[in-house]
Amino acid sequence: MTRVLHAILKAVLAALIVAPASGFAAEAPARIEAGSLSSVLPLTESADKVSIGEFMIARQPVTNKEFLAFADRNPEWRRDTVLPLFADQNYLAHWAGALILGDAMLPYQPVTNVSWFAARAYCEAEGGRLPTWHEWEYVAAADETGIDARTNPMWQQKILSWYSETGGKALPEVGVRAPNAWGVHDMHGLIWEWVDDFNALLVSSDNREQGGADKLLYCGAAAATMEEKENYAVLMRTAMLSSVHGRDTTRNLGFRCAYDIGGE
């Protein structure tokens, strides 16, 4: 009897030790059901909904600690060796050293100052990929209680007030705030995030007509076909992402990975 109790106690203790001390430990990605979305960037002017297939997405953005381990395993992504083709001079500049976070950076803050190429390489190494814009937008449409909160003025207001406050302050840690209805944290209110097709966003959906240099530059003016114009909160994301290059890094731009179902 004592032996059985002892075994149970041991098992409980082991479970306690293994269990994460907080929400920081990487949880399994959230499964996102297939659905459709009235995107701010529709595929064509006539198509009012974009279909989203089932996929999985990380519950939190990638952290400093996780990215440090990646840079350690993959020296070509250290800031002192990365090719300028794939990252600008500010790449990981907020860390104390190539493989040292330093006192100013916390392990569970989201990693920022990472380029699209680096973010993509990280997700590939994890057996995943970056989410597409439409996938990201679909997951980001949820609030704590429903999967599409976009017509809720409170939701919009909350996001917009975050935009107005960023800059200067230290980034909060990931996963601290309540998850949305998909169980995903920090889609808003923490950082900007790379998407796989960031360089597809400023391209208008219908623009084969020619006329004027501006039209030729992008085969048409993208702003003309942005839909859901009342959704400034999300449109600001597309404006930011369409203005950067793959090698660019910024203080507020990080990422999270997505995974194909059955692709692991």
Binding site: L43, T44, A47, L83, P84, L85, W116, F117, R120, D196, D197, N199, A200, L201, L202, V203, S204, S205, D206, N207, R208, Q210, A213, L216, L217, Y218, C219, G220, S242, H245, G246
Partner: protein
Amino acid sequence: MNRWHEICFVAIVSAMLVLVGAAQEESSAQLPRESYYQLDVSLETHRGAALQLSDLQGTPVVLAMFYASCPHVCPMTISAIRAIEAQLPPEDREELRVLLVTFDPERDTPAVLAELADRHGENNDRWQFARTAPEEVRVVAAVLGIQYRESPDGEFNHSSPILLLDATGRELSRSHKPGAPDAVFAQEVAAAAHAKSLLLSH
């Protein structure tokens, strides 16, 4: 030629060959860090040949992205490059290479690309119409700073810069005017090609 001269001759030629070989090896190992040729991507040309970006080093290259079924902008891009080339003296034109990479590798097979090359009268050794693996297109576009997206009808909407790279794959210039004459860009292409042909004739 006596025996001694013969030995000297062979020794000198051998030494030269070794030096040339070393120089070539060095040039591929020492691409500038900002060279586009640092991107490790495999291409397949309109002649069905395998091509690495770094194979293009040694001469200036004019580079753009396109797709074969593109109705308006891409033919203009190709015409613009041909117009720039047409202004060059033949010996300078010989030193220029042109690489066109498709947004649409699924449909733009080597046969389709060869047909396009014929249609433009550029089925030759200097022009390469090429495709990558489908998953590489976005990476190539991102490296070159080109935006594109595929629409449901199979068209591609894209930005249309034409780039000029130096002999080591660094960007010298880019034109954002595929539909209009870009005199500055044309001059830069002419200068790069001429410099290369001068280098060879001296």
